[in-house]
């Protein structure tokens, strides 16, 4: 039994590493399509970790969560975005990101260190797996926030939000595996509705203003000439 749980823990460590790697990639990718791909990868590693935790902690609820996450995050949401937002955007590169790729990676690294430092100061959660998931999920949350702040295109901004949410859930599945199933089920559906509504907003913006570079919209502020 001990061997199996050690194996599960190290597999979970691998999933966590890859999860963190996809967060880094999300922060550094320029292409919109690439962003979406790395989001899909990140979600898959979230599901893998949920499955490992389900076996490790004997939390059968997590199996249902993993199945629902697998259906919605890597499959339905990208499909939905592809349907609603015209394909041309996905081949686009972001011309002016606020910071270049090397500095983005450095900042992501700094945020990861910060996440480890913060989780050291918290009371250690029970279980080897949770001790891996806490700093990694926190790092993904911080990197997602950073990604959101520097993106100017609509779809990458949305994916930044999803990155934050994935980070929160990556911690959540480890520290709160006994969460009521109804609540767990509500989260992915919520993400689905967010994707739907933001997709509609993106299309409205595209039709009305002719661009999806929403970072460039800055006419509303306190000014006399406005």
């Amino acid at each position: 039994m001990g061997e199996i749980s050690a194996l599960l823990a190290s597999l979970n460590g691998l999933a966590a590493g890859l999860f963190l790697l996809s967060s880094f990639a999300l922060a550094a990718t320029r292409q919109v399509q690439g962003c979406l791909r790395f989001y899909i990868a990140q979600s898959v590693f979230l599901v893998v970790s949920a499955l490992l935790l389900a076996f490790g902690l004997h939390a059968s609820d997590l199996l249902a969560v993993a199945a629902l996450d697998l259906a919605i995050k890597p499959i339905v949401i990208p499909w939905l975005l592809g349907r609603m937002v015209r394909g041309e955007i996905f081949r686009r590169r972001e011309i002016d990101q606020v910071l270049n790729i090397p500095s983005s990676l450095l900042i992501a690294l700094g945020l990861t260190l910060l996440a480890y430092f913060l989780s050291q100061r918290l009371p250690a959660p029970a279980g080897a797996m949770a001790r891996i998931n806490l700093p990694v999920g926190l790092a993904a949350l911080l990197i997602g926030t950073y990604t959101l702040a520097v993106r100017r295109e609509a779809v990458p901004q949305l994916i930044g939000v999803f990155g934050i949410e994935n980070g929160a859930l990556f911690v959540g599945i480890a520290i709160a595996p006994s969460l009521p199933l109804v609540a767990e089920m509500a989260f992915p559906f919520d993400m689905l509705i967010i994707a739907l509504v933001i997709g509609i907003l993106t299309r409205m913006t595209q039709e009305r203003i002719g661009t999806t570079e929403v970072g460039g919209l800055a006419s509303l502020k306190e000014s006399v000439d406005g």
């Binding site: 929160a168 919520d190 509705i193 967010i194 203003i209 919209l217 509303l220 306190e222 006399v224």
Partner: protein, 481 residues
Amino acid sequence: MILLAIVVLPLIAGLISVLAPGRTIAPLATLAASVTALALSVAAAASLVAGQPVVAVRNWVALDGFGALILLLTAALGSTAALFSWGYIAREKSARRLRRYYTNYNLFVASMLLVPVLIEPNLVWTAVELTTVLGVYLVAFENTREALEAGWKYSVLTIMGGAIALLGFLAMFAATSFGGGGPYTWQRLLMLAPAAPQGVLQVAFVLILVGFGAKAGLVPLHTWLPDAHSQAPSPICALLSGIKTTLVLYVILRFAAVLNVSASGSADVWATVVGLSSVAIAAFLIIQVTDYKRLFAFSTVEHMGIILTAAGIGGAAAHYGAVYQILNHALTKSFCFFAAGAALLTVDTRQIAAVHGLIRRSPAAGAALLLGGVAIAGAPPLAVFLSEFSILRSAIEREHYLTAGLLAAFVVIGFFGTLYHLNRMTFGRPEETEAGAAAARLPTSCLLTLILAGSPVVLLGLYMPKPLALLLRMAADGLSR
């Protein structure tokens, strides 16, 4: 059962709005559903005040004092805004867009009604997130460049806040899940908090305060609020400013109560610092505004700060002040936005500098705007003054002199800032333009809304019905324990 009916009614009206052809059925169904929901909410609150527990689904859907107050306000504003929408949105030429407005309106109201009746915190997170997301289309409804910009800023910042708060919610659950597999409710959270690991509780609360603070328009993540609350159609502004931000604050205050009963921690310092800085920044921004809808939007930031500061002061008197302020803010601010909407219909500009002598061009809109401004700024003897005064008094009683002094200073700055702008708009000589001569008459439903929404603003300062006072007392108790 009554609680479920309250939430389902707007959903039915939403469905009717999708299906029914023409331009009249959708607003009619919306109005009927929201007024019925209001009547049911009053009934539910009344039986709660009479001492009967109101439970729809055990451990999931139920009502307590604090929830009942919020439910009542949501249903009331949902009704007045529906009535105002009737005349306001009628300008929309496309029947399809009109129906889409009402569909989204009903979904938005239903999600807001869901927040106070749910008692499982994780589901509350989902409901709050739904209110945010379902509001996006309504914020961007005007479909202008500015409205879309506002829609983006609103959705990106507030959904980000929601995602950050999610971690706080999960950590809160993790910290209190040692007590076995019992039902997880607000009540049980309060019971388990004293024995929970204090560090985790603190971190969870800060995550929730930062994340949901963005949704409630608290400094420093308030920047989206004036944009969204000025670009949306006026009835939607009334809902967003009057109750949507308050709903989020309601959840934050619930968690503050949890932290306050825990062994070491206290939310007081956090609440006071964030609350006071919100009041301060809003007060100075009010002086600079050039757009009268933004003026009211900043006043919302100010009021959210005042309520949070009151919660931070602590003690029964301050908590009573906080819930009283919630009541007054919801009623008065929604009235302000109805008045702003009426002014916008009359003069067709949002610029303060472009409007003079509004009271001569449209006595109703001018008088309403003036009343709203005077009331929301906190002039005696109107209700906002009473609640702000009671908060200040409780701060002095508890010897928080610095808090009291700063709060009083900022509130006074906000007061004069608001009145300075509104005075310029209301009085003076109107420009004699062609448009001014043919002053547009306000739609009847808008006039009716101004009267209906305005009367509690005037009366509540002079007379408080006894059941309402009892409900406020119950709501304040929910904050203290």
